[in-house]
Symmetry: C2
Subunit: 252 residues, 2 copies
């Protein structure tokens, strides 16, 4: 039988508000469309809906832009109060040029605009910050699914990041629960008996990218189920394992 993985978009979810039971609504929506969540599924949840239920969507109306935020926004389309929030979410600025701010966020991610964006939320003065702790968000969903359905799933929280050198963004993982986000082949043998010296695969990032094929950007599908992928179960999973330490990184 061929090795096969299915990727199923979960549609029909309502508009989400702070405090909503996201896990419950996901389980309901998956069941309602005839694809209830099963043992061994990977649930990929877009950052935007996590931010919505966790109250990380905010108005910039009451924000006071610092002089730096005003200066670096001049000549660009962004509202200086939006820029101010980018600076507040950043731990460090990696590059700042041509209106683009590449920052290390306070969570440790490297991305444009410290992960803040303004798409797929209502209102043109509204922005969404990243969740405070996407691992905890993922864990909460995993625990809720186990409690209600009695099945073990892995959960990946995804976001859309740009990359150096290549046009176009791609989805990556910013939080994980129930699975090792990094598949480590170091020391194992390839099909020819050669020892694989250095190959580690960021499977959580690949799962996030896979999900994007069904969630899209304009489709309004915030969750997907990846079925048939045999992940390595890990109870104390954390996205930290995907974040390269400063001394091993050549690009900061």
């Amino acid at each position: 039988m061929p090795n096969e993985v299915r990727v199923i978009g979960v549609g029909g979810m309502p508009e989400l508000r702070p405090g909503d039971d996201l896990a419950g609504l996901m389980m309901d929506a998956a069941a309602a469309q005839g694809t209830p969540i099963e043992e061994g599924d990977v649930l990929v949840v877009t950052q935007k809906v996590i931010s919505k239920v966790e109250g990380k969507v905010m108005s910039i109306e009451g924000v006071e832009a610092s002089p730096l935020a005003v200066t670096i926004t001049e000549g660009h389309r962004r509202d200086p109060r939006h820029t101010e929030m980018i600076l507040r979410e950043a731990r460090r600025i990696v590059r700042m040029d041509r209106g683009v701010i590449i920052a290390e966020t306070k969570h440790g991610f490297f991305c444009a605009n410290a992960g803040i964006d303004a798409s797929n939320i209502p209102g043109d003065k509204t922005i969404a910050l990243l969740p405070d702790d996407s691992d905890a968000s993922a864990r909460g969903i995993r625990d809720a699914v186990l409690a209600r359905l009695g099945v073990n799933v892995a959960v990946v929280v995804s976001d859309t990041f740009g990359r150096p050198w290549r046009n176009g963004a791609a989805n990556v993982a910013i939080g994980v629960a129930g699975m090792d986000p990094l598949l480590d082949y170091v020391g194992s043998l390839d099909a020819y008996g050669n020892v694989l010296h250095t190959t580690q695969i960021a499977v959580a990032d690949e799962l996030a990218a896979t999900a994007e094929l069904v969630t899209g950007k304009a489709l309004g599908i915030p969750v997907s189920i990846i079925r048939g992928y045999a992940f390595e179960t890990l109870e104390d999973a954390s996205i930290q394992r995907l974040l390269r330490s400063g001394e091993r990184d050549l690009f900061r």
Copy 2:
């Protein structure tokens, strides 16, 4: 009906040699396992098998290492003749530190070791170079499938690249045929009527990452079929569209 995509590994292919009819063998293997190639499939083919049939697997025994190759290999595990080939495949060195060489390849890709690797090929003095023109390789497969089966497919040639800031490699596209590798949302509206200003998604990279879930590193499955993904057909497709120009890049 839920939005669903299937990812099917194509196994049972023979060991490949220069000049082999890769497209024909793929079609045979897919049919033999009960999942023949269909209209609208995306075929993701790993770089390694393309390099094998195109004669890009070579021995380093006859290579003469330059003084630079010898110097920069000292203290590291790599054979200086292997390093020499990395330098020959490179257009420019981006970073060189701790035994790691990040180069722009002569094809325009930014990756470790100019895309050369030594896994999944027989012999410890053997390396595989990237195909000369992976777009042409992809186009050849697309044309062969159309000629024999009468169906239109897209083809993505994938390779495994590391990234700045994040641990673990992930698959990306290095060649494409029949589809636009970049999905452009610029000017379209999100679910709330906001204009999406800057969102471009590197779907070819996401398709490559998706395929890795079934091809793996040690599985010996070099090809996968992604079925149910509605790509944007483009006859004159090229991976060049995913390669950011120097003046728009902040990390070279």
